[in-house]
């Protein structure tokens, strides 16, 4: 195996593009190194992106936030401006693993690893985040929900990497939240999870919303029907009921030792409703 730690994105893309065998980006390594250890992957080339300065930064711009691909989740949880604007995203990132894992893991690694249960992904999808992709053919931006295409598979092409995640600026009364169900209180994989982001208009009426579910389908799912159920409402009982139904209807989970199909489908509704209530409160609604 060859290890490279380039200092520019361009150099990283160059290395990945001309790699002969299997090439992997190394961010925090909390998925990649585990898979290497288990013999599931045997990279010929590993490109460590942590020495690329712009990838280590969180930038606040007029259009929102740009989170560099090598920023650890521990660093996200120390960023006051980001916590204020996107508390749900930061909370979700903060749920990944232990303190030790937090020091290393990244939301981009979480996204690219493409686990249906990845904790930060439903929150990013609900937030309307975009992935900034750099590759041999230049730059392109895609919605984060279009990055994972199946368990462990993503839509990046040879030579491509994600440089950053863009989160939109928060306008007016907005809030987001992420909840997961796990049998323990920490260090566990989501059995079901839900992310909700919403913006209020006049008199606490929801003007805009996005709802995403994790661990109930092969990829994290953006559930437009669930968002529709609460837009135009003040999140009253009837709206919550409809939200829950739409969330359950969007589930096509697996049955495994962590949860049955029935359980996951039911809990998806519960978590979507609770996350919506937290997001609504954070947005200043009552």
């Amino acid at each position: 195996m060859q290890y490279e730690a380039p200092e520019t994105t361009k150099a990283a893309v160059g290395l990945l593009a001309k790699a002969k065998g299997s090439a992997y980006v190394l961010a925090g390594g909390s998925d990649l190194l585990v898979r290497m250890k288990g013999g599931f992957v045997e990279p010929d080339l590993v490109v460590d992106i942590k020495r690329i300065k712009p990838m280590r930064e969180v930038k606040k711009t007029a259009s929102g936030f740009t989170i560099g691909a090598a920023v650890s989740c521990a660093e996200l949880n120390e960023n006051k401006a980001l916590i204020k604007a996107w508390p749900g995203v930061v909370e979700a990132a903060g749920l990944i693993g232990s303190k030790q894992v937090q020091s290393r893991c990244t939301v981009v690694g979480n996204l690219c690893n493409a686990s249906p249960a990845a904790d930060s992904v439903p929150a990013l999808v609900a937030a309307g985040a975009k992935a900034v992709i750099q590759g041999p053919k230049g730059k392109r931006k895609v919605a984060v929900e279009d990055v994972p295409v199946g368990p462990g598979r993503n839509s990046l092409k040879k030579g491509e990497l994600i440089e950053a995640i863009e989160l939109p600026a928060r306008k007016g009364k907005s809030g987001d939240a992420y909840l997961r169900f796990i049998p323990r209180t920490e260090m566990d994989i989501a059995v079901v999870s839900a992310g909700v982001s919403l913006t209020l208009g006049e008199k606490g009426v929801i003007k805009d919303a996005r709802v995403a579910l994790g661990a109930v389908a092969p990829t994290v799912r953006l559930v437009k029907e669930a968002a529709k159920a609460i837009i135009g409402t003040k999140l009253d009982e009837a709206a919550l009921e409809k939200l829950g139904k739409a969330a359950s209807a969007a589930c096509s989970p697996i049955d495994d030792k962590r949860g049955t199909i029935e359980f996951r489908t039911k809990v998806a509704a519960v978590l979507a409703k609770r996350a919506a209530q937290i997001a609504y409160k954070r947005a200043g609604g009552k």
Binding site: M1, Q2, Y3, A5, L26, G29, S30, L33, V34, M36, K37, G38, P43, V46, D48, K50, S72, A74, G97, S98, K99, Q100, V101, S103, R104, T185, E186, M187
Partner: protein, 156 residues
């Protein structure tokens, strides 16, 4: 092909050669004779291999040795000052917060990182902060007490 790496470990400049896919844990234990960090699982789950890299606690089994280039690494061997134990070490002994001791270096390093960020943690914060460290002997209570007591000493 082995790669030459220059790094700082417990304040000392260290050079070593390692394979590109070799975990930092193996470098510490097998090449540098620093056998404090232990391998419990090798996959990030148990925390027995915890060390600090640039001031943050990590599982050294999930860091490549080559990543250490130019970084500052602290291991459990750097805790005691000469013959004087670190307050965490003294309190672990006093409270009998270990039995077999395999998890102890990892708990000490994780607890140190926790107290650096939060000098006066609640019991819940301690349990949460140390959730990445597993112990099959003590039942954790004694570890929590030792950390609380050490925090008190360290606050002065």
């Amino acid at each position: 092909m082995a790669v030459l790496v220059t790094t700082t470990i417990n304040g000392d400049r260290v050079e070593f050669a390692c394979e590109p896919n070799e975990p930092l844990l193996d470098v510490l234990r097998n090449r540098l004779g620093l056998s404090g960090a232990k391998e419990g699982c090798g996959t990030g789950d148990c925390g027995a291999c915890s060390v600090q890299v640039d001031g943050r606690v990590v599982c050294s089994c999930l860091v490549l040795g080559v990543e250490a280039e130019g970084r500052e690494i602290e291991t459990v061997e750097g805790l005691a000052q000469g013959t004087e134990l670190h307050p965490l070490q003294s309190k672990f002994l006093e409270h009998a917060a270990l039995q077999c001791g395999v998890c102890t270096p990892g708990f000490l390093m994780a607890a140190k990182a926790l107290l650096e960020k939060n000098p006066n943690p609640t019991e819940e914060e301690i349990r949460f902060g140390l959730a990445g460290n597993l112990c099959r002997c003590t039942g954790y209570d004694k570890i929590v007490r030792a950390v609380q007591d050490a925090a008190k000493v360290m606050r002065g």
